[in-house]
Structures are given as structure tokens and as C-alpha cells.
Symmetry: C2
Subunit: 175 residues, 2 copies
Amino acid sequence: MTRTVIAQPLTAEAFAPFGDVLGVSGSPDKIINAGRCGRFHDRARLDFGPEGRAGISIFESKAVAFPVEVDLVERHPEGSQAFVSMTGHHFLVVAAPDEGGRPGTPQAFVAAVGQGINFHRGTWHGVLTPLHEPGLFAVIDRIGETPNLEEYRFETPYRVEPGPDVVEAGLIEAS
Amino acid sequence: MTRTVIAQPLTAEAFAPFGDVLGVSGSPDKIINAGRCGRFHDRARLDFGPEGRAGISIFESKAVAFPVEVDLVERHPEGSQAFVSMTGHHFLVVAAPDEGGRPGTPQAFVAAVGQGINFHRGTWHGVLTPLHEPGLFAVIDRIGETPNLEEYRFETPYRVEPGPDVVEAGLIEAS
């Protein structure tokens, strides 16, 4: 039997167990460029492990549509991984708590335009799931030579559907 | 007398003296996520100096309109600095060669939707100049305690105007 996960709007509070929301919140930490620009400083907990370094890669992914089936999650034991849409589109974010080395029940979030995310090192998460084409993302993650991918396939897939808050927020069109 | 700089579309070749263009070009280095996603791997020369580390900050800047007056450039001796629009808008990029410790004549580029940039460590550049509001950017740069900003004010400002290629490419509307 398929189990259902309801996707909610992405907020820093709800996403805190899994990582950081990249976006403006509160007041800028510093005003720069002769008053023209606010800097929200150092908003992600980056961690590239003892053997790694930071890199910027570009991901180009096919888009998906609700309902989204999630049968596979992965984690990167050696590094954090941040995603920023390069086309200003919202996207689906799936993450799961760790329960004794395996992923627990996933949670799902829809990132709004202007929101990115950073998965903390070792966090179980679904693969990149853009909701619009082109699914073009800047990815700030660990560059290194040692293994950095662990995958887990759920015996019974989860089916992710948008919650009413997501529809109301205009993050997807109602079907 | 004001001097004019013609902004051209951003290409990796033209921008190479100043930094990296972040975007898809050529074939992906790796296909991931069960064939659904291409990874263009490690596309920026990041350098955060001996005392720094990588961070992700958010910049929110007022937009500008052509013609854009450039009287100030800056550089970061301790680190590279990358900019990705979080709203999928194009933006103006101004950079200048170093000539004996001072900036030479600036060059100007318009980044298309889906293009980001990474200024190499120590490169003279103009401040962030979004061409659309909200001017929301993910900035990957150096986090550290030691000074990392050098500014230079031109005695005579430059006036940046869009070239015909920029208008033809649809990067701005013709005035």
C-alpha cells in the first residue's frame, strides 16, 4: 500500500532538522554598496569533511509533477549540499530523519521562488525534483575523491501530494 | 567627459580573464538520479585564502536601469565571489583588469537567465547590479575575520550601455 506524504511550504523552522533555508528573513546583517544592498551573512552550515572542499556545480534535471513518487533517498556522509534554482522556480524538497542508520518517514516541502536549501552533512534526502522545466540549479557541495553517496530504497514508495497551504500559497496550480 | 562601456552578452570566453560563468555548456560530466539529471561538475575556481572558508550569503539589492553609471569598483584580495540570481533574472556584471594595482578600463556583460558568475580571487568588479527587482542573489564567498575589501573610485565615471547583441538576445528591452 502506498503511503502519502503531504508537502508543506518551506519554512526555516520546519526544515531545521534537515538543513538551512536560503533566503531573506529578518533584517540584513550588513548594508553594503552605498546603501543599495543588504547582506544576509553566512546563512548555511557548510561542511565538506576532512578530505573535501567546496565546489559549485550545475544540475540540469527533468521536472516532475504531483503526485510525486519517492522510492529512493540518499545522503552524503562527507558533505553538506545546497541547491539554488537558477531560473526562479519553486521545487520539491524531500528529507527524512535518520533512524538507526536508515531513513524514517520522509517530510516534503515546496521551496518558493527566491528560496534555496542546504542539506546538512549526512541528511537523508530525495533526489532533485524541480516542479518546472528547465530544472537548472546551482549546487554547492563537496568536491573530493573519497566515497560520498549512500542510497536507500524504500520497499514501499511514498506518494507526495501538495497540501492545501502549498496550493493556497500559489506554489503549485491546483489540479 | 563620461566614458562609455558597451555591455555584451555574458560568455565563458569573454569572461575568462575575470572568472567563471556558471551555467550549462557542453555535455554533463555525469548523469545522476536514474538518468533524470546531468551534473556539470565543479565549474568554478573557488579560493577562500589561507584564513577563510566558504559561505553562502543572500544579497538583496535594488535594481538599476541602463544607462548604468559605474564610478566604484572593488576587489576581494582574500577570496573568490560567486553570484547566482535566485529569481531567474538577468543582471549586469562589470569587471576590470588589474593594471599595476589599479583597475583598468572596465568591461560589462549581461548575464542571461540561468547564468551565474564567479569572480576569481582579487578580480576588480563593480558592485551587484540587478536589472530587475527583487534583486535577490545567492552569494558564495569567503567567510573570515581578516580584511577582504579594496575599493577604487574612478575620477571620471564610466557609463554602461547595452550593446546591440544584448538587445537582440532579449536580455533587456530596447529603450
